[in-house]
Symmetry: C2
Subunit: 372 residues, 2 copies
């Protein structure tokens, strides 16, 4: 059944989305402010349950909206707010069909917010689901695409009212490559409308209820903090009954080194952490999102499972572009839904897709006994 998202929900949603962003996806803070403003002007947003045919008909027409670019750029280059609506409208005009709803392409980071901005400005409902179940750095890394939906035609819109419509047929890799080049020339970030599809395709290919999940995770962290409970336990309890069943604490320590550069339109780099009790060292590598975590040379978690760096005291998620020397953190691994771990899915966003020479091992598996 549909429900209404109000401005009061946004701080919790942003916090939960930052967690699901696994360090990337862009800091949702700016997006949250934009959605708040749009809701003040246009009213709250209706959220549709993708599993309820009364909310989302099979033949409904859905377009994903999002921001793309390097998070290091996105925290400085604020959208005007009209760009994602322009992208949506241009794609509608090209296809000769108006959208019945919009949907997040990813539930992590700022892209939890952009579809809400579009929804508030246009009056369209937003679907409680997404195409990544977290955040990923590239546009072909979508469950939509894994399960057969073409990402293109898509539209990239810049802040000068310019737009670029990309049509690569069923080749979502080529779409990403051309869109990335466009986003770079638009200043390092841009707003997009992509993966036009039916309600049936949404039900078949999206990770369901991830807006609800982000909202609950953000709320759980806040309430734990207010009650002086352990936020990591609160996160684990929130996840347990969902598709993201398992949480494992990978490391507790402080940041000793961060190396970060903005190249090819991405924020790439790595970070090192020393354990509070001395001895062990954690190493992470990121391309916008944290991709792999290694403790003393042994891989403890890898994409597509989630690797989340949290402030040790507050449980607040820390994005890769905000990592700083000396921060005291807890690093957790979270299992992704089963449909993100199939061979087809791992062929699109498994470790090899990021140039990592490690196999995917579910984060919940005990590496000593090789058992869950």
């Amino acid at each position: 059944m549909s429900w209404t998202l109000t401005p009061d929900d946004l701080p919790d949603l942003a916090r939960g989305a930052a967690l699901l962003g696994t360090g990337g996806g862009g800091d949702p803070y700016i997006g949250r402010l934009m959605v708040e403003q749009a809701m003040r002007e246009h009213g709250p947003v209706t959220v549709l349950d993708p599993h309820d045919p009364a909310d989302l008909a099979d033949e409904a027409f859905v377009i994903a909206t999002a921001m793309m670019g390097a998070p290091t750029v996105m925290i400085e280059k604020i959208p005007r707010g009209e760009e994602p609506v322009l992208a949506l409208r241009r794609l509608e005009a090209h296809l000769g069909r108006t959208a019945d709803a919009t949907i997040p392409m990813e539930c992590g980071g700022i892209n939890s917010m952009i579809p809400l901005l579009v929804a508030a400005r246009t009056g369209l409902p937003v679907i409680d689901a997404d195409g990544m179940g977290r955040a990923f750095p590239e546009l072909q890394m979508e469950t939509f695409g894994v399960y057969g939906v073409a990402g293109s035609p898509m539209v990239v819109a810049g802040d000068h009212g310019e737009s670029v419509l990309i049509d690569t047929g069923a080749d979502n890799h080529r779409m990403e490559y051309l869109a990335r080049g466009t986003a770079i020339r638009m200043g390092g970030s841009a707003l997009i409308a992509e993966y036009p599809m039916s309600g049936h395709d949404v039900r078949r290919t999206a990770i369901p209820h991830t807006l609800t999940l982000a909202l609950r995770l953000g709320r759980a962290i806040r309430e734990a903090r207010e009650r002086l409970h352990d936020p990591v336990s609160a996160i684990a309890e929130t996840l347990a009954p969902t598709l993201y069943r398992h949480l494992r604490v990978l490391f507790a320590g402080k940041v000793t080194d961060v190396e970060r550069r903005t190249v090819d339109g991405f924020a790439r780099g790595s970070a090192r952490f020393a354990a509070f009790d001395g001895g062990a060292e954690l190493h992470t590598v990121f391309q916008n999102e944290t991709l792999v975590a290694t403790v003393d040379g042994e891989t403890v978690a890898v994409v597509p499972d989630l690797i989340c760096v949290l402030e040790a005291e507050s449980g607040e998620p820390i994005t890769t572009e905000a990592l700083r020397y000396g921060q005291r953190v807890v690093v957790v691994g979270i299992s992704t839904p089963d449909m993100m771990r199939t061979p087809e899915a791992l062929a699109v966003f498994g470790p090899a897709c990021f140039g990592l020479d490690v196999p995917f091992v579910p984060v919940e598996r005990d590496r000593a006994t090789d058992r869950v």
Copy 2:
């Protein structure tokens, strides 16, 4: 009145277009082979006189077709031949209107040939006129744009059947920047359809009769060669009654140095030449096309006037990517039509637009007396 272009015309046309390409525009040889093949399959091409309303009605709908990219890439990455038709068709579909004719965006280099390829494959006529009156490296450097026609919406098509539609409103600089980025990601060259406009706009903004001019120039060079006449005199005599009135021999000597690199999607570099009689040295700078010629430190010709490097014996034009140590050459300057020398035109493709810190001085002016 319209006339018919046949395969027999193509070698002369290609030679003349190479001359008007001022070293750039891509070697027309490959384009010529493609047009020959298309004409063998589909028949000859009808060429329209832009000054004859019976050929081109005011309300006719015209789309320019072309190749864009670094000539250093274009000589190795041969188009399949379908790309410019795909670009045209995608732009037609976007605008909801089919073209009545195509037109070269530039008359120099391979872009004299691409519209003929489109014409042969589609049955459309091609207009005897163009938007550069020579070759220039960038898409905003068009008389179409100088006199108020928007270059976008435009389409860039690659050799995998993919297309990118760019809409930057009236901002032709931004269109060029986004299209260049796309062409780079398509491998360094791509085929385009741009500057959709009316027959009235063609008459108002295009340089007329430049296909005819290229054909006559190529024929004059060949015939001079066959009769053992001086090809430079033949070129000068062909130009005298046209909009390109003046030819001046700038230098005769041999190539002593060429520095060339493919950067930002362009072939950039410079060349040095030593006079046959020793002493004087010519220096040229190019961005795809030759931009400026300096003899012993004094500028003797600069864009938008044409600077053409010819083989000394045969009068065959040499493109910048084919310049080699030891070649014996004559370098000539040719005056551009008056509508390419107005303040509006120089603001778009004058020396400052290429970062050159020299004023535009017409090549026909005697620099000693400052008189023509």
